[in-house]
């Protein structure tokens, strides 16, 4: 059987609900079991990537810090909706760095900024899509 490729997309801002945390948990568990996983941040989901978040007043763990560890789980691609970033006035300097190492331990950027038709085309390439 050919390898199935999983897409986990987060479309809501973090902390107001459990969707984002559950989506990332599922991504990490699938990856921990050796599945081919890609994560995508769409719409308000792009807020997951902003740096310097402090969730302590909410009594919630700052789970968005998990994103820079995706590479440790061999999740090598983090798709980000560029139009959604722009619509929210977010610039690259406000985003966490997310990298991964290839098989020779060379570090690469994991962020893949796409918008419009190119984004839709990319998202359509996955076999299984879980939207959160």
């Amino acid at each position: 059987m050919p390898e199935r490729r999983f897409l986990l997309s987060l479309s809501r801002a973090p902390y107001g609900h459990l969707d984002g945390q559950e989506g990332l948990d599922l991504a990490l568990v699938l990856a921990a079991f050796g599945q081919n996983v890609t994560v995508a941040l769409l719409d308000d989901g792009v807020y997951h990537l902003t740096r310097g978040q402090d969730s302590s007043a909410l009594g919630l763990k700052p789970y968005t810090r998990q994103l820079p560890a995706l590479g440790d789980f061999d999740i090598r691609e983090l798709i980000v909706d560029r139009a959604a970033l722009q619509a929210r006035g977010l610039s690259a300097s406000q985003l966490q760095a997310v990298t991964h190492e290839d098989d020779d331990f060379n570090e690469h950027d994991s962020l893949l900024l796409l918008e419009g038709a190119a984004l839709a085309e990319k998202l359509a390439t996955f076999d299984i899509h879980f939207g959160f």
Binding site: A31, A32, F33, K61, R65, Q66, P68
Partner: protein, 110 residues
């Protein structure tokens, strides 16, 4: 479930992981290890510290594959292999070390 360490009650879940991570101290790790017949050495401690730092930074309790890779990267290649880690933590490096370090059950370990 409740452990008593130095006369203080410590709440753990059914698998022995701390319910409240902020309660963790070295005596708890030592008591958990002693219950498994292990005396914690400097080699054990550097793994526990690495796990705690990793959790602090990324909010993830790493599984054995990720842990092994991190150990190799941060503590040296001679330590980043499962043989070495299983000698330290025979019940499974990630499961056992995360428990002693006060972290939740590792992601993707059942």
């Amino acid at each position: 479930m409740t452990l008593i360490v130095d006369g203080q009650p410590v709440e753990v879940d059914e698998d022995g992981y701390l319910k409240n991570r902020s309660q963790w101290n070295e005596a708890i790790a030592e008591a958990m290890a002693a219950a498994d017949g292990i005396e914690l050495s400097a080699n054990h401690w550097e793994v526990l510290r690495l796990l705690q730092n990793y959790y602090e930074e990324y909010q993830i309790a790493p599984n054995v594959r990720v842990l092994t890779k991190q150990i190799g990267k941060r503590l040296g290649k001679d330590k980043g292999n499962s043989l070495y880690l299983y000698e330290l933590f025979p019940r499974g490096p990630a499961l056992q070390a995360c428990r002693y370090a006060g972290l939740p059950r590792p992601t993707g370990c059942s």
